[in-house]
């Protein structure tokens, strides 16, 4: 009940109606120009960020994720083209006008002596509060709601230096929420976090985008998490291209493989992960139980076995182990040892 109400407060103010483009770029070229030398990182970008969507920006290092974020937020000037928010060109806006449109969560660590979560989040109200910066009842309500949305109510008056990294990140997200902008941009919000916290933050952002109608754009290295949580992915590759789409479409059309092309690994469309390209020379055939199959295949691939239909060595995966030449094996370690023996024997026999 309370949550519904608090969400309304945020949605009422956001200028979105349905899924229209909130931020668009027109023939945007990003990069650096120093002393007449122009270094184009990406060019001809026509991107669209829509209200109520979580967009993940992914791509290999050096493809220009940070440069794009910096350009979209107006921290850096574009080489060519423009970024429009609600029809207004971002590079022409004043700092204070930008602060009403985009809220930021950056990678730099915030260390403030004596500041509580509440104090930190209240700084997000800076663009809205009066000249003296007093916290009125309305401001206070916004701050409380932002903290509630990231589930930090119980730590509201705790010193930020006593928070864990995950809690600290949630507090920073609350600060961005309190800023009450239609767009939130986050630069690698899951860096430095452990897996449970990474999942937590991604889920939180996904939920926030859908419930508050904000457009949330984040850059990340977490490919599998991005594939699961993102409504849309902006996939950047080093050859000056950004492909946009629903994650699954990008999987089907092979964009991921192209973006992350390498000899030592490939994008495994079966599980949305990167798999290493092991040198596989020896052939085995595996059949049987589905859940154990995945892990069996992984172990075999690492040890250099290619799975081929009806190969000479046949492994049957059972519910609690494996059967190889009618011998029952209970651990992967034993299994690998056993197969190794088989191949070794056949080599010496010849």
């Amino acid at each position: 009940m309370i949550e519904e109400k608090e969400i309304n407060k945020f949605t009422e103010k956001s200028p979105s109606g349905g899924f229209r483009g909130l931020l668009t770029t027109e023939n945007l070229s990003i990069g650096y120009s120093k002393k007449g030398k122009v270094d184009v990182v990406q060019s001809e970008l026509n991107l669209q960020l829509r209200a109520g969507e979580l967009v993940c920006l992914i791509g290999p290092n050096g493809s220009g994720k940070s440069t794009l974020l910096r350009t979209l937020t107006g921290l850096q000037k574009p080489l060519l083209g423009k970024t429009l928010i609600d029809g207004k060109e971002i590079s022409r806006l004043k700092q204070s006008e930008k602060a009403l449109l985009i809220a930021l969560v950056l990678t730099e660590r915030v260390d403030i002596e004596n500041a509580t979560v509440y104090n930190l989040v209240s700084l997000g109200r800076h663009p809205h509060s009066n000249w003296w910066g007093n916290i009125t009842e309305e401001e206070d309500a916004f701050i409380h709601e932002a903290i509630k949305l990231v589930h930090m109510d119980h730590k509201m008056h705790q010193n930020i230096n006593e928070l864990s990294d995950g809690e600290r990140q949630r507090a920073m997200i609350a600060k961005a929420l309190a800023q009450d902008t239609p767009i939130i941009m986050l630069d690698e919000p899951t860096a430095h976090l452990d897996l449970p916290n990474r999942v937590e933050i991604m889920l939180l952002l996904h939920r926030l985008a859908h419930k508050t109608g904000k457009a949330i754009l984040l850059s990340t290295h977490e490919l599998d998490l991005a594939l699961q949580a993102a409504d849309r992915i902006w996939l950047m590759s080093a050859d000056k291209k950004v492909e946009c789409g629903v994650p699954e479409d990008l999987v089907f059309n092979g964009s991921f493989n192209r973006a992350f092309e390498s000899k030592s690994y490939f994008f495994n469309a079966a599980n949305g992960n990167f798999s290493m390209n092991y040198p596989m020379t020896k052939k085995v055939w595996v059949s049987g139980d589905k859940t154990r199959m995945y892990w069996t295949l992984r172990a075999l691939a690492r040890a250099g076995y290619m799975v081929v239909y009806d190969a000479e060595v046949q492994i049957l995966v059972t519910e609690d182990g494996w059967t190889l030449n009618e011998k029952i094996i209970s651990t992967v370690e034993e299994l690998l040892l056993e197969i190794d023996c088989l191949f070794h024997n056949s080599d010496t026999n010849r």
Binding site: K94, S96, K98, L104, L106, V110, I112, E113, G133, Q179
Partner: protein, 331 residues
């Protein structure tokens, strides 16, 4: 929490007033509180006592309050601007810059029009320019050097350079000017007569007024410059205003009292510790009161021996241990 802050402000205000009166009473001639009050309320008791009180001790006590408040507020702003808990006008060479300005005026006094020099405006203008120039240089370096301790070393180097230039100037000056300058460097609150007060007071009030008007932006700066930009704060403009305000406060006070060490670094820490907040809305008035009290105490202590001690030495006795404590706490 709010009532605690209020209570602290009440206590600090009473302490400041108490120390102010004690500073008036204390000295080579003891003047009782009763006499002080009767002089202030126009019921003059004794000609000599009222002369000492009104023309010597009162301007000195007011100067102590102004110096303490100015240096502390300047220190607080610098600590926020550099996001460095060890920043202060003295350590980062701003006071040395002011000294250089003062040295230039004192030793070049023979060429400048007498009226300009003796009115105090020459000193204060030179000191403010000197302070601001060093501050601009330190801000410039802070873009390249992010390490807190490295920045302090750079500040020390600027201070050393300014000191060396002063030495070179001394070599070419006449002995009278040198003596005047050396006396100035010892630091003294009694140098400010009423006519100088006409110069010092408005400069300090403008500086403190600027600091208070910047309090909301200073809070935003605590997040770091990129976050502050994201909140709509114009960094260039804010940095410029902080440099001007700090130059007015540190330069203005240093011009008359000589360099007073470590007050700027110590007081903001004491204020943060007492009020347990990071909000400049609370910290600014808190540093004003704490700073005024501390310099008043220093001045009272300096009166205890037969020969008055330089204020600089006593403030260093307070401040230097606090810096060591901050560094140890950070480890």
């Amino acid at each position: 929490m709010k009532s605690r802050t209020f209570l602290l402000f009440v206590i600090l205000s009473f302490l400041t007033v108490g120390f102010f009166l004690a500073d008036l009473a204390w000295g080579s001639i003891h003047i009782s509180l009763h006499e002080i009050l009767s002089v202030f309320f126009g019921r003059e008791s004794d000609g000599i006592n009222s002369e000492i009180l009104l023309n010597f001790r009162l301007p000195k006590a007011i100067t102590a309050v102004l110096a303490g408040a100015s240096l502390s507020v300047a220190g607080l702003m610098m600590q926020t601007l550099f996001r460095n808990s060890l920043a202060d006008p003295y350590i980062l060479g701003v006071s040395s810059g002011a000294s250089l300005g003062v040295a230039l005026v004192m030793m070049a006094a023979s060429v400048l029009p007498v009226a300009f020099v003796s009115s105090g405006w020459a000193l204060i203008v030179a000191a403010i320019i000197g302070a601001s120039v060093v501050l601009v240089l330190v801000v410039g370096v802070s873009f390249k050097v992010h390490n807190a301790v490295s920045l302090l070393i750079v500040g020390l180097m600027f201070g050393t350079i300014a000191g060396s230039i002063v030495s070179v100037l001394q070599n070419f000056s006449n002995p009278d000017a040198i003596k005047l300058f050396v006396m100035w460097t010892f630091g003294s609150l009694s140098a400010v007569t009423w006519s100088y007060m006409h110069v010092l007071l408005p400069v300090v009030l403008i500086g403190i007024g600027m600091a208070f008007s910047l309090q909301k932006r200073l809070d935003g700066l605590l997040l770091g410059e990129n976050y502050a930009r994201g909140l709509g704060i114009s960094i260039q403009q804010t940095r410029f205003l902080i440099v001007i305000a700090t130059g007015l406060l540190a330069g203005g006070v240093t011009a008359f009292t000589g360099p007073i060490a470590f007050v700027g670094v110590a007081i903001p820490h004491i204020a943060r510790g007492l009020f347990r907040t990071s909000s400049h809305k609370t910290l600014l008035p808190a540093t004003v009161l704490c700073g005024a009290s501390l310099i008043l105490i220093c001045d009272i202590i300096s009166q205890i021996p037969t020969y008055t001690l330089p204020i600089n030495t006593i403030s260093a006795l307070f401040g230097a241990p606090i810096i060591i404590w901050i560094i140890l706490k950070k480890k």
